[in-house]
């Protein structure tokens, strides 16, 4: 790549791609772009060229509020000994599809 000062000025966007109808959008990466239309266009070329998707969302990274990694003990560990919360004690009918 040649000298690319533009990246410093372009905000970061998180890219979410829906692989097919009925499934949810999944986070697949991020990119720098000047605005949402630009971000969508680049996400199309970078993240869907192997038929990965039928729909794309882009979200400005700074608008995503994230949990603090330092708090993961108090947030997530209390759930680790409560296996009865997992729906593993009955079978899901095929008709239910993706859960």
């Amino acid at each position: 790549m040649s000298n690319a000062p533009a990246l410093k000025d372009w905000p970061l966007w998180e890219v979410f791609v829906r692989s097919k109808q009925g499934l949810e959008h999944k986070h697949c990466g991020s990119l720098h772009a000047s605005d949402s239309a630009h971000a969508l266009q680049m996400a199309r070329d970078v993240y869907t060229r192997r038929q990965e998707g039928v729909s794309i969302w882009v979200v400005p990274s700074h608008l995503i509020a994230a949990s603090d990694p330092g708090e993961k003990d108090q947030l997530f560990e209390p759930a680790s000994d409560k296996i009865y919360r997992h729906p593993t004690f009955y079978e899901i009918p095929d008709e239910v599809g993706h859960m």
């Binding site: 790549m1 040649s2 690319a4 533009a6 990246l7 990119l31 720098h32 772009a33 000047s34 239309a37 630009h38 266009q41 680049m42 199309r44 070329d45 970078v46 060229r49």
Partner: protein, 286 residues
């Protein structure tokens, strides 16, 4: 447009092979040119975008060459280059073993990615030239492929239906960038304007008559490109206005004739790079 069925003859007509080669050569030469950005584009995302664009164009060229090769295979009068491998005419012989005067692409598409009077090395490539050319060409091809979906040559109609989707995205990509560059910084606007000033005169070639286009139009396999001029002007003028650029005044000067086989000095270099491997190792596979 008038109704589809009224225009479409019941018999499946054959598009003139020279017309198919014109469409194929356009796609191949611009595909080859745009592929020069591979590994060198301003940013990684656009590197991939330009490679995608090239692969779309080369894919279109393959389908058209295959179609033309089928037609030419049984024709003993079909032209063969001096170093043409013995035997069949295939998509590969059409792409790799024809010489400059055999190519029927618009001159616009063989020009380097650098402005006039600037060397054409890797570091001299100007993104705004690439964008302006892709914009001017894809604006035309969206209109051409739309019409060719109704071609009396059913194979060509099928290729048009596939290519139209790709051309619409190419137009969207190039138009978007043209507006960003024109309505961007003083430097990007200066470059975008220079690219337009340089390239627009080459689009005059779109509207001139050629024998193969006239034949294709007359047997309803091709499109009358001159009739698309008003629609193309509207697409171009609207984008130029949105980009806060100025359309250079029309000048009655030399009109390029690449589609007639009369090319600029640049096509020879493009072909040398593109064809040398196939000519050094005819029939090689990998």
């Amino acid at each position: 447009m008038t109704t589809l069925n009224a225009q479409r003859p019941t018999l499946n007509q054959a598009a003139p092979t020279a017309y198919l080669l014109h469409l194929a050569d356009n796609a191949l030469i611009l595909g080859q040119r745009n592929a020069e950005w591979c590994g060198h584009a301003p940013i990684l995302e656009e590197d991939m975008a330009m490679a995608n664009n090239s692969l779309d164009l080369i894919g279109q060229a393959r389908l058209l060459y295959q179609h033309a090769a089928e037609r030419l295979a049984g024709d003993v009068r079909a032209p063969r280059g001096a170093s043409w491998p013995a035997g069949a005419i295939t998509e590969d012989t059409l792409a790799y073993f024809r010489d400059v005067p055999d190519f029927r692409n618009y001159t616009l598409l063989e020009l380097p990615h650098s402005p006039p009077l600037v060397p054409a090395g890797v570091g001299d490539r100007d993104w705004s030239v690439t964008i302006a050319r892709n914009f001017l060409y894809s604006a035309l091809m969206v209109l051409v492929w739309e019409r060719l979906r109704q071609s009396a040559d059913s194979q060509l109609a099928a290729i048009a239906a596939k290519s139209l989707k790709e051309a619409r995205y190419h137009l969207r990509h190039a138009r978007d960038w043209l507006v960003r560059l024109g309505d961007g910084t003083a430097e990007s606007q200066r470059r975008a304007q220079a690219a337009l000033d340089w390239l627009l005169p080459f689009t005059d070639e779109f509207w001139t008559a050629s024998t193969h286009e006239a034949q294709a139009r007359d047997n309803a396999t091709g499109v009358d490109v001159a009739a698309l001029r008003a629609d193309w002007d509207a697409l171009v003028n609207e984008a130029i206005a949105e980009a806060t650029l100025t359309r250079p005044a029309a000048v009655q000067g030399y009109v390029s004739q690449g589609k007639q086989g009369l090319h600029s000095e640049h096509l020879g270099y493009v072909l040398a790079e593109m064809q040398s491997l196939a000519r050094a190792h005819p029939g090689a596979t990998w």
